[in-house]
């Protein structure tokens, strides 16, 4: 589950990670109040207005602005709230901004130069252990750093039996070229960050940049936090952080019906049991000359109610020109699924696009007969190859 920057920072702060402080606002007036309050709390003279959407690269799209007066806070917050923000990560359609974070200015002048670092915590799938990945090149696109100057990216793997050790935090601070108070601050920062990661069942932390301020404090200026969906049951308070405005409305509706649905931009919808077969079915559609309009796993119990709900979800997408149903009936009997399809079809009334149903497994022949004799505009198949050919016929 993704959360916003302001929520991510809130989580980090609970575990003692030093952050760039800020207050969230949904209107220009709220932004002004937030700015005044923040000045009282932190003494900041300037403010950063940051669009809160679930995508990176916000600065590049004009979603992060410095305000040097309260009037500028009002103006810039007003401009950003409601804008359609396009960043390298949102795709060309962009994302609508509903909230801004009014954050303190942390690049204030002081005795020492500031510097920016990169730091992330994530799972190394090969070793099955968490790693802290960090770089001297903060504030930049990390993929680009990895490509051009891989020697500037460091990794520290954590032994799960003992957790993060002090020498590892020191190593990180040394590799980042720090000394004196900034060095100490960094070791504390790393320890708190890893503790937060472990305690919250997170699947990714990305702090870019981590800032060394002019007075040698180490703080998280941005925070990308992904929470492990499988661990959410242990953190019921995180559920309130879910922002459905950031998700596709059809995906949200599908999730409410326990359907695993991901919207894509093609023209052939699909309904499949099992995630692997669902991906393979999308591939079949592509190879047959169409483009998949979605990923949809109906799960093990493909009964009439679920099938009907799945049809309704798929049909919400106006781009869908055909639907391929691909069910491998193992323990679930194909004839039951076929009956479910026929019932669902009749309940919905008129389905305006052709449907190809491929049912294989237990009672597949009876299922095919049921579909063929239903009188509905449904093409039936048993083998996957036949289904692929039918897709080609329909979209071609």
């Amino acid at each position: 589950m993704n959360v916003h920057e302001y929520q991510g920072k809130e989580i980090l702060k609970r575990y003692g990670v030093a952050i760039q402080e800020g207050l969230v606002a949904e209107t220009a007036d709220q932004a002004v109040d937030a700015a005044k309050k923040l000045s009282e709390q932190t003494g900041t003279q300037w403010w950063v207005v940051k669009a809160q959407i679930h995508a990176g690269g916000r600065g590049k799209g004009g979603g992060v602005k410095l305000a040097k007066s309260i009037d500028e806070v009002r103006e810039k917050a007003g401009n950003i709230i409601g804008m359609n923000l396009v960043t390298p990560q949102t795709g060309p359609q962009g994302k609508k901004v509903h909230k801004v974070l009014i954050a303190q200015d942390v690049y204030y002048p002081g005795p020492n130069p500031t510097s920016e670092f990169y730091m992330s915590v994530l799972l190394n799938r090969t070793t099955g252990r968490n790693i802290i990945m960090y770089s001297t090149e903060g504030g930049m696109d990390i993929e680009e750093v990895a490509e051009k100057t891989p020697e500037r990216i460091f990794k520290e793997e954590i032994d799960p039996a003992v957790g993060l050790q002090a020498f590892q935090a020191r190593k990180i601070a040394f590799n980042l070229g720090l000394s004196g108070n900034a060095f100490k601050e960094m070791t504390r920062f790393v320890a708190a960050l890893y503790k937060a990661y472990e305690h919250t069942d997170s699947s990714l932390f990305e702090i870019n940049p981590v800032l060394k301020t002019s007075d040698d404090r180490i703080i998280a200026v941005d925070a990308k936090v992904n929470l492990d969906e499988n661990g959410l049951f242990r953190h019921p308070d995180f559920e309130a952080m879910r922002d459905v405005l950031e998700e596709d409305p059809t995906e949200v509706e599908a999730a409410e019906h326990n359907l695993n649905y991901v919207k894509l931009d093609g023209n052939v919808g699909c309904m499949v049991n099992g995630a692997g077969l669902a991906m393979a079915t999308m591939d079949i559609i592509k190879l047959a000359g169409g483009e998949p309009a979605n990923f949809l796993d109906v799960g093990g119990t493909a009964n009439a109610a679920r099938v009907e709900q799945a049809f309704r979800i798929i049909l919400k997408d106006p781009n869908v020109k055909a639907i391929l149903v691909n069910i491998f009936g193992g323990i679930v009997r194909c004839d039951r699924v076929a009956q479910g399809i026929v019932d669902a079809y009749r309940n919905i009334g008129n389905i305006p696009v052709p449907i190809i149903v491929r049912l294989q497994g237990t009672n597949a022949d009876e299922a095919k007969r049921l579909i063929d004799e239903s009188g509905l505009k449904v093409y039936s198949a048993i083998e996957l190859k036949e289904a692929a050919d039918l897709v080609q016929q329909v979209v071609g």
Partner: protein, 294 residues
Amino acid sequence: MSVLVNKDSRIIVQGFTGNEGTFHATQMIEYGTNVVGGVTPGKGGTTHLDRPVFNTVSDAVKQQGADVSIIFVPPAFAADAIMESAEAGIALIVAITEGIPTKDMIMVREYLRGRQCRLIGPNCPGVITPGEAKVGIMPGFVFKRGKVGIVSKSGTLTYEAADQVARAGLGVSTAIGIGGDPIIGTTTREAVELFMNDPETEAIVMIGEIGGGLEAEAARWIKSTGNRKPVVGFIAGQTAPPGRRMGHAGAIIGGAEDTAAAKMKIMSECGIHVAESPAIIGKTIAGVLGKVSA
């Protein structure tokens, strides 16, 4: 011969008396699998499905000589169940449970390090040796006895492959569903290695999906050990967009290396017969075996 499980395996079910455990244990027994009992803490001493129920895995090992355990315990308690089995000396642990937190699996993996046991899964359909033992949730009738080993991250796609193998007039030695989570007990490479060392298995079907580096690792290992048996490969998710999770917790494209195209390219370069379409897995394996015997 086969790998991992056979008619002599002594199998227990953890989460035996729950809904899932009861349903699938019944199916396993009907298939002819040698289920010798089950474990449900607090119900020890009772019987379920005409088999003894134990409080601990340890008791089941002592009293029934169990050597394989299949786990249907809910996600919050599954890591504990796996570790209990490992501690009790179970040689093969098959974890069906979907939705175990990654943090728990990091601990499990650490706990299993250096122990004499193998974990399959979690989030997998299990393992089947046709005609001998079904230790999983797969429809048994799809799997015909034969000489093709199947290793797969996906459930229904495994059934699909097994069905195509059967339609091609061939059969399966053992099928191993390794699971679709980011951390799994047995990797693609380890499963392939089992088949390479199994005299009965003549060819291997290796089914992967987007995310992670398991298929590339297996492909490189196959090449480095001299392509001892023909391998047919398929990767699901050629059309999946980057950064989106496709059902399985581990099925997410994180970089250029874990796309379907990248994996298929590496597999091809390593001498694996890559099926571009999931509809031609059976045809491809038949072609490969035809060439071998000719």
